[in-house]
Structures are given as C-alpha cells and as structure tokens.
Amino acid sequence: MVKLFFLVFILHIILISNILIINSSAATEEFEPEFGLAPEIDGDIDKGDDEWENASKEEILLKSESPTNEGLPVDIWVLQNNSALYISVQFELEDSARHLEEFIGIIISESESESEFIDAKIVQFSGLGGPSANFNYLDYYIRNDMFFQDSETNGDGAAKLHGNKIIYEFQIPVNESEGDDDRDVSLDFGETYAFKIVYGQSNTYPDDIKLSNVIEIEIAYPKIETRDPVEKALFIVAIVAFSSLGGIYGLYIYKIVVVGKRIKKIGR
C-alpha cells in the first residue's frame, strides 16, 4: 500500500513538472544583437544596401494557447546601433491561410521579467494581398493588461507582402531619456529585456492576439569605434594634402597683396 502510494506520488510529481514546463513562457531565444547599419523601415530587405547584414537571426515558433494549433514558425532578425534597436519578423503563409487583416506586435517588458510588459509596438496590416493593401504603425502602452494608444508615437514600423512571404520591420529607440513619459519603455545599454512577439488578425488588442512567444534581447553598449588603418592613412593624407594646398594658396595670396601695394606706391 505504501509502495503504491509512493508510486502514485512520484507519477504525480512528474506530471505536474511536465505541465509546468510545457506551460511556462520562458524566453525561447536570447539575442545579443550585433551593431550594424540602420535599415530603412519599409518592409523591404534591400540586399544591395547590405540591409540587416549583421543581424542576429533565429527561427522561433509563435505558439497558441490551444493545443491543437501547431503555431507559426517565424524568422526573427535583431540588429542594433547607437540610437535604436531593429527587429524584423518574417514568415510565409499560403494564400488560403492568410487573412485580409493581420498584425505583428512587439510587447516590451521593463526588464527580463515577463510580468512587466508595459509597451506595445504594433504594425497592423489591412487589405492583405489586395490592391489596397495598407499598414499602420501603432504605439500602445499597457496598464493592467489593457492597451491604451499613446498620443506620441515612439519608434517606427512597416510591413510588406512579397509573394507568400510577409516582412515586418520595427525600429525602437534605445538609450532615450524617459523624462515624464512612462508610456514607452526605456531600453538602456547593458540591460536585458523581454520582448513578446505577438501575431493576430483584427485590431482588437490584446483580445485578438492568437499566437505569441517571448524572446530576450540584451541591449549592447555602443562599440568604441576603431578606425580602419586605410581610413586612418587617408585621413592623414587628407590633412597633409589640404594643409599644403592651403599653405601654397596663402603664400600666393600674400604675393598678390605685396605686388598690389607696390603698384599703389608706384601709382602715387
């Protein structure tokens, strides 16, 4: 009897731990973005301009609470520079699976904690696949799980459909002085923040969020720029060449002035 009880107890513990592990929303990926050139936020990846070249790229699964939903695999690209964090969310959907309206949102926590989400940046797409396809970038702040639209839009976002693939691009300022505005999260260098990537359809936030997953991003400190030796050499050559040119020009002007004075003297 004791043995049976012990066996049931062990099984119970195993089951509970499994449920806890499955339901836990711990961040699936941790990003330490590289520094790179700021991409243009237009829903296009311009390869000619090496846009997103240094981005950290990972595939994650946006999950639903419903166990029957397989979720949506998305590519997440993260890039940073001194003034902003850039996030691109890309995925493919067959025409039959696509809705006329959809959105991708980035919900940002004040810290690594997933219980402190206070800011939401959303790109809402409408008329997808049609001639009047259009998107809106929206900035919300969150209080008690309710979304309120921010009167001042912070950051930028865009989206574009390329065949079956849709590309969302976001730009979120970093290291901004918060001031009195606590409606936008202040992303500071050296800190890690939780970002919830959400997918939904109509513009009812947060009720229409269908899929989500959390990632963590560490906002890196700006790198101390070291000059390329060739650039350094060119810089020195520029100083020498233009200083010599300036010197010769100055000497020439001096000569003209002296001759001018002499002419005036003779004239008198």
Binding site: A241, S244, L245, Y252
Partner: protein
C-alpha cells in the same frame, strides 16, 4: 586764362599703371574664386562629413523618388566640378600674375597646378579619372584661347 580746362592726356606711364591695376584686379578676383572652390573641394573631397555624408545620406532620404545611383553620380560630379573650377580659376590667376610680372607661365607651374588638383582626388578613383580627363580638356581649351 583758357575758358575750358584742357583735358589732361594720360601719359604712357600712367596708362601702364592703370592697366596693371586692372590686371591685378583680375588676378585677385580669379584667385579668390579659386580659393572659394578650393574650400568647397576641401569639404567635398577632404572631410568625411561631406565626402560620404551630406549628398549620399541626407538628400536621398529627402527625395526617395530618385535612385541611390543617381545621387552617387551627382556626388561625384560635384567633387570633380569643384576641383576643375579651382584649377581653372587658379590657372587664370597664376597666368595673369606671371604675365603681370613679365614672364610667361611655364611648364613647371602648370605641372604643379595639375598635381595639386589631382592630389585632391586621392579618395576616389572615379573622381581621379574624370578630373584627369577634365584637366586635359581645360588645358587644351586654355591653350587654344591663348593662341587665338
């Protein structure tokens, strides 16, 4: 006493001085114009702010309709043009100055001016090539107008 003041005829010496003043004025104006374009060249061919900043980064974002390649060409045209204008005005100024001092401009000075013009193009091969072609055309043009 004569009723009309007799117009004083200018002596050849005073005429010479007045011509000299005019010539010196031309030397000065062309040297100042040369200096103005040299300063522009310093900005566009020497400093990083203008070299790869103003034209290629600021203007395309203000006028997104035009291709980036257009602005690259436009940027290079400005760089070549400011060097050629500097050379043109300095050549006129030095030529007039030499004539003023009684000597013709010699090969040494032409080579020095060409060399100084090409020295400004060291950061960009396209600017170097087109400046070289431009300098040849300018030298031929100046030689021909001198001959005529």
């Amino acid at each position: 006493m004569p009723k009309f003041k007799k117009e004083q005829s200018r002596t050849p010496k005073s005429r010479k001085i007045s011509d000299d003043v005019l010539m010196l004025e031309s030397v000065r104006i062309s040297a100042l114009l040369g200096g103005f374009f040299l300063a522009l060249s310093l900005l566009f061919n020497g400093t990083e702010l203008f070299f790869d900043g103003i034209i290629l980064k600021l203007i395309p974002s203000l006028t997104p309709l035009l291709q980036k390649e257009f602005w690259v060409i436009f940027d290079n045209i400005i760089k070549v043009a400011v060097i050629l204008f500097t050379f043109f005005f300095m050549m006129i100024s030095v030529g007039n100055y030499k004539e003023f001092t009684g000597k013709p401009i010699d090969l040494k000075e032409i080579v020095l001016l060409v060399g100084l013009s090409l020295a400004q193009t060291f950061r960009n091969l396209y600017v170097f090539i087109f400046t070289l072609i431009g300098l040849v055309f300018l030298l031929v043009y100046l030689y021909l107008i001198q001959e005529s």
